[in-house]
Amino acid sequence: MIGPLVKNGLISGGINTLAAVLIGILFGYALQRSGFTNSRKISAAFYMKDVDVPVVMFTAIVTASIGLWGMSLLGLIDLGKFYFLPSYLIPMIAGGFIFGIGMAVGGFCPGTSLASMVTGKIDAMVFVGGFLLGSLLFGDLYPIWDKFYNSDANGVFRIDQLLNVNVGLAVLIITLLGVFGSLGMRKLQYKFWGKHD
């Protein structure tokens, strides 16, 4: 069966919704088993004290990137039917910077806060409350920043286009970046905080 299954009419919308729940269960299970329901573990990344968070992130990106690209080479998925995220570079960099500040202050990102909240972590419940307020703040005062939000629109803009290389080489580049980035960060962790912590 060639994916995306729902867009190729191979499964119904109801099954697609069920898939959303099941994939969510896998995701939430993996977050908890990786220790990401613990705000101390997440925030430790910003002190290089425990770099598991970036290592998991890099590994997930590389796994998904190789998987999707490989499946398209094998003809198992039709990339033309994917939803590709558009790049609004400057608002995304500004948003990322504020997001990072919020993570170091609050100890969570959205997905980890949901996962942590249901295991009883009260700091996660309060963080989720803050998140709801923050996103309402953005939407209700939208006219103040709608120009900035829609600025620097680059459409779908991928690394292969940026570097003018083929997709396979771009996947290889981010794979190397992920592997050496993970190893480098782990090395810094051991250097600053020792091997046993």
Binding site: L5, N16, T17, A19, A20, G24, I25, L26, F27, G28, Y29, A30, R33, S34, G35, R40, V55, V56, M57, I61, T63, S65, M71, F82, Y83, L85, S87, L89, G95, G96, F97, I98, F99, G100, V105, G107, F108, C109, P110, G111, L114, S116, V118, G120, K121, I122, D123, V126, G130, F131, L132, G134, S135, F138, G139, W145, D146, F157, I159, D160
Partner: protein, 169 residues
């Protein structure tokens, strides 16, 4: 820190597989923040329906009379909570507690959590996604904006880490 966790490489591969599955089945990525904003909008709509529906940003959540909670990412968020709860049950980590460093009060930690949550809630909308839907999914799609977003997260976190160290270290 709790022992008996998954190896981070294994955890990353599992999350990577979850991303591949959403694309293979649904032709889109996974995400977490979108569902939380849908929920926030749904609550606001209970109290101020016409104000919310006429909002230039939130009106799209009600286009054609749909309920913002009837959304792919909301169902996924329900799954995330079920999955984490099950994992917490199996690993005996279901417990009401506040996690923090030794040098801050519970009340102090919760103020930080609230303020951090507000910043992340705002920033996730400005950046059109969060660590899941923007950084991981866009990163795998080779999106330049997503990679820039991810590096900016680390820049922001490292920039402020020193000032909030009392909370964690």
């Amino acid at each position: 820190m709790k022992k008996n966790l998954w190896d981070p490489i294994f955890g990353g591969i599992m999350i990577g597989i979850a991303i591949i599955l959403t694309f293979y089945i649904s032709g889109r990525g996974l995400g977490a923040s979108g569902s939380m904003t849908s929920f926030a909008v749904w609550i606001q709509h209970l109290f101020a329906p016409s104000y919310t529906e006429s909002s230039s940003y939130f009106s799209k959540y009600f286009a054609n009379g749909v309920n913002p909670l009837n959304d792919y990412l909301v169902f996924m968020a329900i799954g995330i909570m079920i999955g984490s709860f099950l994992a917490g049950m199996i690993s005996k980590d279901l417990k009401f507690e506040i996690l923090k460093g030794p040098n801050i009060s519970n009340k102090g930690r919760l103020w930080y959590a609230l303020f951090g949550g507000i910043l992340v809630g705002y920033a996730a909308r400005l950046a059109r996604g969060c660590t899941s839907g923007q950084a991981l999914v866009g990163g795998a799609e080779l999106s330049v904006g997503s990679w820039a977003f991810m590096f900016a997260i680390f820049a922001g976190g490292f920039a402020v880490a020193y000032f909030v160290r009392r909370q964690w270290i």
